[in-house]
């Protein structure tokens, strides 16, 4: 056992291994990616049907609708983030691996964003067009949604880790995460609305990027702590 140090994988390898595995899993189950997207499109359709077809009203409430739908769609996909790892014993293996758990948790979160958040950002222009959003607004919306969905994935991972293995986990997860997600919703939706009114949008984008960086630094540690507690 002399050559162990040579073969011990580095932090980057561990991080990438988790991302690669989770993306491979998502690839083999495309339904897990597509269902939240359909849900997103569906919620965006519900609002015009409920509120009425007046294009004036829709262009005012469009940013808010897109953001609420994105928030709900992200929540929908978060529930399963750690569930299968918990059930099949992978979580034991992750906790008992020589790699730091916050790093592995961050890897799982990044994979979640790549398979749930990013598709949402890419699909959002299609929805925006139906709300008569002009081009500049669509750009701002995609930018805020990028920062926003990253933050939501990080924040949601904490909630998913806290509720993994509990009965009625989905409802509980929403109850835990939605109040915490409100700053992201407020800044995201208001910034898009400001862009639609041809106002300055930099304040909102600064806030969202700062929030995103704060979440990137702190959330993986909270997620790791929560995973250890839930796996007891």
């Amino acid at each position: 056992m002399t050559s162990r140090e040579d073969t011990m994988p580095g932090l980057w390898q561990g991080f990438m291994a988790v991302i690669r595995r989770d993306l491979l899993l998502a690839w083999k189950r495309p339904g897990d990616i597509l269902n939240p997207l359909f849900f997103f499109a569906m919620v965006c359709t519900l609002f015009p049907l409920a509120v009425g077809p007046s294009s004036e009203q829709l262009s005012i409430s469009g940013p808010g609708i897109v953001w609420v739908a994105a928030l709900l769609a992200t929540l929908l996909s978060l529930n399963s983030l750690f569930l299968s790892d918990f059930e099949d014993g992978s979580l034991d293996q992750l906790i008992l691996s020589p790699q730091p758990l916050p790093l592995l948790a961050l890897g799982k979160t990044v994979a979640h964003w790549l398979s749930a958040g990013l598709p949402l950002v890419l699909v959002s222009p299609l929805v925006a067009v139906t709300f008569q959003m002009p081009g500049r607004t669509v750009g701002v919306m995609m930018l805020t949604l990028t920062f926003g969905t990253i933050s939501l994935s990080l924040l949601g991972a904490i909630g998913a880790a806290l509720t993994v293995g509990l009965h009625r986990g989905t409802a509980l997860l929403s109850l835990l995460i939605l109040p915490l997600a409100m700053p992201v919703l407020i800044f995201g939706a208001r910034t898009v609305a400001l862009a639609a009114a041809n106002d300055a949008v930099s304040a909102g984008i600064y806030f969202l990027s700062a929030y995103c960086i704060l979440a990137l630094t702190l959330a993986p540690f909270a997620t790791a702590a929560a995973l250890k507690i839930s796996n007891e």
């Binding site: 009625r168 509980l172 109850l175 109040p179 915490l180 700053p183 800044f187 208001r190 929030y211 929560a226």
Partner: protein, 250 residues
């Protein structure tokens, strides 16, 4: 000092000590609230803009203050419990949550009643402080729901402590974002750089109410922690002795 803290954190010692402390909270607290109520409702002059409607601040402000104090207390004691593994600390966090939720609810109700003559509606979305308070209530609900969903007390303690800390980091951000979102409420009126804007006849009853509410909150909290501790230590010998002793008295 450490020895004293350690002794304080032992459940039987806390149980004995808290019984002696509670009256020191209840008596002054009650006196202050009685003074504040009488002075606030009958002797303070009516506000030159709001008339008598402003008098609801004597309940609204202390309740809103305690809703935040309770969350801070909950997060701090949950953090202490998580880091230093002090069980009493977790019991304090568990006991503080429902009280905090109640005061938040009270602040919301009184704020809404106050809003009726001020803005002509029961609920004004443009008011950032009421909206923050509402989100605060949801945070309390989430904390209590997580606790209720986990059967094992130790596990519930640790999981909810993580949530309380995450919430504590987020609360300033929530307040800031709600402020940014809208501003329609009155500015802070108690503390200003150039001295209080309120006449002293209005201010003193308010301060008395805040202090009185805090003392009564302290007494309620201690009482709740006592019963929490009794429940958690139900298998231990000292709880049996407590129960037997109270049986002999009764």
């Amino acid at each position: 000092m450490w020895k004293f803290l350690h002794k304080l954190a032992s459940p039987p010692h806390f149980y004995d000590l808290s019984a002696k402390i509670i009256p020191w909270f209840v008596v002054p607290g009650t006196i202050l609230i009685i003074y504040g109520t009488i002075a606030g409702l009958f002797y303070a002059p009516p506000d030159y803009q709001q008339g008598d409607a402003f008098r609801i601040i004597y309940v609204h402000v202390p309740a809103a203050y305690l809703s935040m104090l309770a969350y801070t207390l909950m997060a701090v004691s949950a953090g202490i419990g998580l880091i230093w593994r002090i069980k009493l600390s977790h019991a304090v966090a568990a006991a503080a949550a429902p009280l905090g939720a109640w005061f938040t609810f009270l602040a919301l109700i009184t704020g809404s009643i106050w809003g009726r003559p001020m803005w002509g509606t029961w609920w004004e979305w443009g008011d950032p402080r009421l909206t923050s308070e509402l989100i605060m209530l949801f945070l309390y609900f989430g904390y209590m729901a997580l606790r209720a969903a986990i059967d094992d007390t130790t596990k519930a303690d640790k999981a909810s402590a993580v949530l309380a800390l995450v919430g504590a980091v987020n609360i300033p951000i929530i307040h800031f974002s709600v402020e940014w979102w809208s501003s329609l409420h009155q500015g802070a009126t108690i503390v200003r750089a150039d001295g209080p804007a309120m006449p002293t006849e209005m201010l003193f009853p308010l301060l008395a109410m805040i202090l009185g509410f805090s003392l009564v909150f302290g007494a309620l909290l201690l009482g709740r922690v006592r019963s929490e501790v009794l429940f958690r230590e139900r298998r231990s010998r000292w709880v049996k002795n407590v129960v037997l002793a109270s049986g002999e008295q009764g």
